[in-house]
């Protein structure tokens, strides 16, 4: 496990992602063998197989890539800046705010007025409404209090999930169903525009966070040490916080709450790469993307034609794999 050689890990992660994509393409109720895929695509949109591939499976794969990657990067950033391996993108209540926004949208029937964008937009507004007070309450005298952010975040998370439960309690059965399904998360997204937007933001987020990796490396020793190494911690903490919030908010508002990716992927990758965020962030993006695509394939196919919420699969698969890995490691002190 002490192997930290990027020349081995990077191709491994790329291979994992590629395998997840290939498996996602070929599996499903309409089994399409791998060797036929090329001829289907070349023959154009006349065949039903073409529309299954390009209109149903491909958007999910791209969305899984973007959301899995974005959540993992957000997890790496937050765990690094809070120096706490238990922090994940949802700890800060961003998901709770998004769920609240989505639930309100459903009971107010806003999606009838603006069909494609009502749910993601209200989810995004909900997560922004949570982040802003979180940010400003903890910015006293221009100093960002890290522990304060963490505690306020956990509390906002509780408040918003209580409000969601309140909405659930007073809503009618069909609304109840759509709220619960939204909350449990799904990579089903009909709008290509939104898929492209989130993909661009995810890749951009990866790039921006990569610029901040030396800072994250220094911050993982603590704020004082980072200052000793010449880092303007107040400014960079804000940058990191906003970046992680944006990545999380946009993911959650589009796909609902897909848990565990942002917690487990950074953890798992850290075992392979060590604490160097330059490696950690790239490998986490690739692994997270592959992991979510893989879990989505299971969610689609395991009990077909019933589709399971992908958040359930990420939890079960991620949790068990992670416990297994932990039990196999006998390295002391890590």
């Amino acid at each position: 496990m002490k192997n930290k050689d990027m020349t081995l890990i990077l191709p491994g992660a790329v291979l994992f992602l590629a395998a997840a994509i290939v498996i996602a393409i070929i599996s499903g109720s309409a089994g399409i063998p791998l060797k036929r895929i090329f001829s289907i695509i070349v023959s154009g949109d006349a065949t039903p197989e073409y529309s299954i591939l390009v209109d149903i499976r491909l958007p999910r794969i791209i969305l899984g890539f973007a959301v899995g990657g974005a959540l993992s990067v957000a997890g790496v950033i937050l765990q690094g800046m809070f120096r706490n391996p238990l922090v994940e993108p949802y700890t800060l209540g961003i998901s709770g705010g998004a769920a609240l926004g989505a639930a309100l949208c459903i009971i107010l029937k806003l999606q009838n007025a603006f069909p494609a964008i009502a749910l993601p937009a209200s989810g995004f507004i909900g997560s922004c409404l949570v982040i802003l007070p979180l940010y400003f309450v903890n910015m006293r005298r221009n100093i960002v209090r890290m522990q304060g952010i963490l505690l306020t975040g956990v509390m906002t998370s509780f408040i918003s999930s209580s409000l969601v439960v309140l909405i659930l309690a007073i809503s009618r059965t069909e609304e109840l169903h759509s709220i619960v399904f939204w909350i449990m998360g799904s990579l089903e997204e009909p709008s290509w525009v939104l898929i492209i937007i989130i993909s661009v933001i995810a890749v951009l987020g990866l790039f921006l966070s990569y610029i901040l990796t030396p800072v994250l490396n220094a911050l993982s020793l603590g704020e004082e040490e980072a200052i000793h190494l010449g880092i303007d911690t107040e400014r960079t903490k804000k940058q990191l916080f906003i970046l992680a919030s944006l990545l999380t908010g946009i993911s959650v508002s589009l796909t609902g709450i897909i848990g565990f990716v942002g917690l487990i992927v950074p953890h798992f990758v850290r075992i392979l790469t060590g604490y160097d965020h330059r490696k950690l962030i790239i490998i986490s993006f690739l692994t997270g993307a592959g992991f979510l695509i893989f879990c989505d394939t299971i969610a689609r196919t395991a009990f077909a034609p019933i589709e399971l919420p992908v958040g359930v699969i990420t939890g079960i698969v991620g949790g068990s794999v992670f416990i297994y890995i932990l039990s196999r490691r006998h390295l002391p002190g890590s």
């Binding site: 030396p214 220094a218 603590g222 010449g230 880092i231």
Partner: protein, 267 residues
């Protein structure tokens, strides 16, 4: 090199240091001693600007440090602080963190020069053989050396150390201080060091500042500062001061209460 002028600082409303005037010259091995809670660490933090001055100024090579960016400060001052976080990262990775102040914008990886400087820092501190060991699996003496190596990788003009010997046995205490003095004498590195052990301070420092109740009580060569009256007054403890027969420096002996009573009765 470093000058404190009328420095008053503390945490919130609590003032720890009052009206401090100190001047640390280039190439000095400058010791700071004083009882617990007297403000030694706060003074170091005021120099590194972790604690903002309520009044007064700190000058680094004649420049008001308020006007310096943290990055510029990090190229001049390297700090080996008291609490040393140890993560499962290798020594080499850790020492290379000392090169961050020299990163250009959009530079993510160390250049070849950075690796060379890090290697040199590890050789100087004698931990080159440990470069692939994990920080979290090393002894406290080795971790201390790694922190000094990281400080050297910053290529600083001043090395600030906060009680670098407090958890070490005498072999490692002497080893660390000999190393720091070598760096001081041979490389011309200015050293500012907080020490708890008065005798180590006496043996190694050119100049000692004795801090008590947030003020500089005495500042000068060890022979001037470490006289028994001053120490008894500031530390409120009975001591005997003698001279080390080899180095000629003063050494301070403590007197336990039992012994003190026995002698008081006897006399």
């Amino acid at each position: 090199m470093i000058e404190l002028r009328g420095l008053t600082c503390g945490y919130g409303d609590k003032i720890v240091l009052r009206d401090i005037d100190l001047s640390i010259r280039k190439g000095q091995f400058f010791g700071i001693i004083g009882p617990n809670g007297s403000g030694k660490t706060t003074m170091l933090k005021a120099i590194t600007r972790l604690v903002k001055a309520a009044a007064g100024d700190v000058f680094l090579e004649g420049v008001d440090m308020k006007r310096l960016h943290v990055n510029d400060i990090a190229r001049s001052l390297a700090v080996v602080s008291q609490n040393m976080p140890t993560l499962p990262m290798t020594v080499k990775e850790f020492v290379l963190l000392g090169r961050i102040p020299y990163y250009k914008r959009f530079q993510f990886f160390e250049g070849g020069n950075d690796g060379f400087i890090a290697n040199k820092a590890m050789e100087l501190t004698g931990i080159a053989h440990l470069k692939d060991a994990l920080m979290s699996e090393m002894s406290s003496g080795e971790v201390q050396l790694a922190f000094i190596a990281r400080g050297l990788a910053q290529e600083p003009k001043v090395l600030l150390l906060d009680e670098p010997t407090s958890h070490l046995d005498i072999t490692h205490q002497v080893g660390i201080l000999d190393l720091v003095r070598r760096l001081n004498r041979q490389a011309g590195l200015t050293v500012v060091i907080i020490l708890h052990d008065l005798n180590l301070a006496s043996e190694y420092c050119d100049t000692i500042a004795l801090i008590g109740d947030g003020r500089v009580r005495k500042c000068g060569p060890p022979a001037d500062v470490l006289d028994y009256q001053t120490i008894e007054e500031v530390y409120k403890t009975v001591v005997i001061v003698r001279e080390n027969p080899l180095s000629g420096k003063p050494f301070v002996l403590i007197v336990p209460e039992e012994v003190k009573e026995k002698w008081q009765k006897g006399s």
